[in-house]
């Protein structure tokens, strides 16, 4: 920091130490303050030079004509701004004069304090930096164990709102009252691999000082917003943020440790429940965790892409489900999450439907961030019901994964069961078999496969089949005879009929 470079008045006005300084009159334009002078009263010799801030100790009397005279004298020698005592408004004449001279007139309840703040910033940038770093270090040590408590203490020490945001600019904690999109855009150009704080310009001179924070393989940014650049301050805040990021990393590591431990506990308890061997101690642990073992349960399986940090992202899953109005137990399990909803009464069909709709919408949101697929089991009662429903949900999830057309969501209700079966017929082993079975009918005159499908669908009724296909009953009869002879089957045998029915469905649907 170059000590001789000036401070923009606009930046100084928004500085925490000038919090009670007001613009009373004069142009809104910004001026560069290069020095500060303190004089006794409005009648004193100025002793100031061009570009200086003239602070007038005894100047509370707004009626005193010498205030106008002072403005004239200050303007003549190129003073940048005049600061007078207290915040009460100036007379209209003084206002008009300050506007005319384009000379900002500021009011401060503490002239000497405000003057000294400018002096410090102008003359002692290193002292300010050391002071700020020390205060942030102390705040980091003394604040509570949570990230939010640490952020709050750091904000207070810096005198500026400070936030933790992820690499996409999403707020993770603290306060960020600037333009989120501008921040996200600016962060996208920065690498978290580079150690140390940096300044990123957002818009209209607003500046964010950012410093990477690393935790468990992921990165975030600690961010402090400065409405106007004040080089001394932004440099000092940059250094202070490095100290702050260390304090945050320590808290994030602690939080991670808790998270992992809880996840392990939940997973082991779920293991016992699924196996159906629930000891009294486990019942007790379930109670402690707020898990309802009795009543009716709907199992939900949420599968995620490999490599997702299950423990770390669990809260996001819980949040998304809560946003959909659902409050299930969520446990990290295998390559995803096992979750279930419990209720004391058997839910009605309508309730089941509503729950499924809510889960479908949750899946829709989760897919965008976690590439999830979701399966939902049927409602089962009792502690063992949890395992049953989860097992259905797991099968459903596996199918849902390969079915983007259903939003990678599958609910095992009655319709779902049929889909489950049909889906099974579409496996790699059955499909070639189905095609092979019907191969003799291909390339034969008279649409034999569709005729066979319609015949089986209409419970082997020649009349119904004829009506469906819009052909004569005798034509149907002769086609069926040809089919039986071509395939060498007897359609009155239930096993043959079932195999051919499934084969027809598969063949027609593919």
């Amino acid at each position: 920091v170059n000590a001789t470079s000036g401070i923009w008045l606009g930046a100084m006005i928004s500085h925490p130490q000038w919090i009670r300084v007001r613009r009373l009159a004069g142009a809104d334009q910004d001026v560069d303050i290069k020095a500060a002078n303190l004089i006794r009263d409005v009648g004193s010799d100025l002793g100031a030079g061009p570009g200086s801030l003239l602070a007038v100790m005894y100047s509370a009397d707004r009626d005193d004509w010498r205030l106008d005279s002072l403005l004239n004298r200050a303007h003549t020698i190129g003073v940048a701004a005049v600061m007078i005592e207290d915040e009460s408004p100036v007379r209209r004449s003084t206002h008009a004069l300050a506007d005319r001279l384009k000379l900002p007139v500021l009011g401060s309840p503490d002239i000497v304090g405000s003057y000294q703040a400018v002096q410090h910033i102008l003359a002692q940038p290193r002292v300010i930096m050391a002071d700020l770093v020390l205060r942030v270090l102390t705040a980091g040590r003394q604040s509570g164990p949570s990230v939010d408590a640490a952020l709050e203490a750091i904000s207070a020490a810096l005198g500026r709102p400070t936030a933790l945001v992820d690499v996409h600019g999403t707020l993770l904690g603290g306060v960020f009252d600037g333009d989120v999109e501008a921040l996200a855009g600016a962060l996208a150009r920065e690498s978290t691999q580079d150690f140390g704080a940096r300044e990123v310009g957002l818009h209209d001179g607003v500046l964010a000082i950012v410093c990477p924070v690393h935790s468990a393989g992921t990165s975030a940014w600690i961010t402090t917003l400065i409405p106007r650049e004040l080089p001394t301050e932004s440099h000092a805040i940059g250094s202070a943020l490095m100290a702050a990021s260390a304090a945050l990393e320590q808290r994030l590591a602690d939080a991670r440790l808790h998270l992992e431990r809880d996840a392990r506990q939940r997973a082991s308890l779920l293991g016992e429940i699924v196996q159906g061997s629930i000891s009294d101690a486990s019942r007790r642990r379930a109670l402690d965790l707020g898990w309802q073992l009795d009543g009716w349960h709907t199992g939900i399986r949420i599968g995620v892409a490999p490599g997702v940090d299950l423990a770390g992202r669990r809260s996001e899953v819980v949040r998304t489900l809560a946003a959909a109005g659902l409050d299930p137990v969520v446990v990290e399990h295998g390559d995803g999450y096992a979750a279930w909803l419990s209720c004391t009464q058997e839910p009605s069909a309508k309730q089941v439907q509503d729950t499924a709709a809510a889960l479908r919408s949750a899946q829709h949101h989760l897919f965008t961030t976690l590439s999830t697929h979701m399966g939902v089991g049927r409602v089962h009662p009792g502690p063992e019901g949890i395992g049953q429903s989860l097992s259905e949900a797991r099968d459903a999830a596996q199918l849902a994964r390969s079915r983007p057309e259903s939003g990678r969501f599958l609910h095992v209700d009655r319709l779902g069961l049929a889909q489950l079966l049909l889906a099974w017929t579409r496996t790699d082993t059955f499909q070639p078999a189905a095609h092979a079975l019907l191969a003799p009918l291909q390339r034969q005159p008279g649409d034999l496969i569709n005729t066979l499908a319609a015949y089986l669908d209409s419970e082997s009724s020649l009349a119904d089949t004829a009506a469906i296909l819009g052909i004569h009953r005798n034509t149907v009869s002769s086609r069926i005879a040809r089919i039986e002879s071509l395939l060498g089957v007897d359609l009155s045998v239930p096993d043959d009929r079932l195999a051919l029915h499934l084969a027809c469905r598969t063949s027609i649907m593919t």
Binding site: W65, N72, S93
Partner: protein, 357 residues
């Protein structure tokens, strides 16, 4: 043969404007008292005598002191001016042969003439201020070391007080205290002095100047241009624009302090005038431009009538005009100190039109 100026009824309108201009925003309501003069004068005339005309005579300065606003509410009985002159002559044991004005600005530019008719003595065209000033210790006699006592104060209730062997500043206080406890105003007659002595420390030709100023002003007509005003009245227009602020704040001394601010409609210059009983100081863009004893007048933009301090309102369109004050006051530092800005507690040197140009 000395040329004697004459005042007749048809001159009264011009005289009123003239004494208002010399009043510099203060000095009281001359227009109201001018009716008394008009009635007393009738078809007659008043000669405005020079000191040479009355070189052998003894002259008494006479006029009204005290609260101007009360003067309008508690009307004179008609006895006051003559009563004061008679009282001081009786006390001094000297017979006056002429009267003169206490001050030429404002109301007292008229009262001396009325007194001349009331007591039936010739009028000496001279006064002790040459304009309006608020305090008795600012009479030129006091400034030049002539005594202001014995003097007689006749208040409208008929009480007469004679002060003797009192210094000017004490006299000022004594008169104020007495008036505040009685009718609020009174007629004051200063000691009868031989004309040569009297005029050795007085401003001569004051009423003639008022008359000239008033006659010149009558040529202006409606909505005069700034340069016409400067040419005709012989001064400088500081602003031609709108009053943006009229404020009265606190008491600097005995009188209420205030300020009036005008923005020039062309240059946008901010012209602030500090006031007490009179307009005292004009700042243009914060720079002291004109001060007492020069005259500062606010003229109504349309009629060009001088506006007294208490007549000016925010939003009025006005001309701010500076006219040269009586040169007598600028003749030496001693006199200037008695009536300059610092004598009103305004901490700046006197800034006069002549000295600056």
């Amino acid at each position: 043969v000395t040329k004697v100026s004459v005042l007749k009824a048809q001159d009264i309108d011009a005289l009123v404007v003239g004494v208002e201009l010399l009043g510099s925003g203060g000095g009281g309501d001359a227009a109201t008292f001018a009716r008394v003069l008009r009635r007393r004068l009738g078809d007659g005339r008043i000669d405005l005598h020079t000191p040479a005309d009355l070189a052998e005579g003894v002259v008494v300065p006479v006029g009204v002191v005290g609260s101007i606003s009360v003067f309008l509410e508690k009307l004179p009985s008609g006895e006051e001016l003559a009563g004061a002159v008679n009282a001081v002559c009786r006390w001094a044991g000297v017979q006056a042969t002429a009267v003169m004005s206490l001050e030429a600005g404002g109301l007292n530019g008229i009262t001396g003439l009325v007194a001349s008719l009331d007591v039936g003595l010739p009028f000496l065209d001279a006064d002790l201020m040459g304009r309006a000033l608020p305090r008795l210790d600012q009479f030129s006699w006091a400034v030049e070391g002539l005594p202001l006592t014995p003097c007689a104060l006749y208040e409208p209730g008929g009480q007469i007080v004679v002060f003797d062997s009192v210094s000017p500043s004490r006299l000022e206080r004594a008169v104020r205290v007495f008036l505040s406890q009685t009718g609020g105003w009174g007629a004051l007659a200063l000691p009868p002095l031989p004309v040569p002595t009297a005029v050795s420390a007085a401003l001569t030709g004051s009423i003639s100047r008022a008359l000239e100023l008033g006659r010149a002003h009558s040529q202006l007509g409606e909505t005069p241009l700034s340069d016409a005003v400067e040419r005709v009245l012989g001064g400088r227009v500081l602003a031609d624009g709108r009053v943006i602020e009229v404020s009265r704040h606190g008491n600097a001394g005995a009188f209420a302090r205030g300020s009036t601010t005008v923005i020039d409609s062309q240059s946008r210059a901010v012209v602030r005038i500090e006031t007490e009983n009179e307009y005292l100081l004009a700042l243009v863009d914060g720079r002291v431009e004109v001060s007492t004893p020069d005259l500062l007048c606010l003229l109504d933009r349309r009629t060009a009538r001088p506006l007294a301090i208490d007549q000016v309102r925010t939003g009025d369109e006005v001309l701010v005009v500076a006219l040269p004050g009586p040169s007598w006051w600028a003749e030496n530092e001693h006199r200037l100190a008695a009536v300059g800005p610092s004598s009103f507690g305004l901490n700046t040197d006197a800034m006069l039109l002549e000295t600056r140009s």
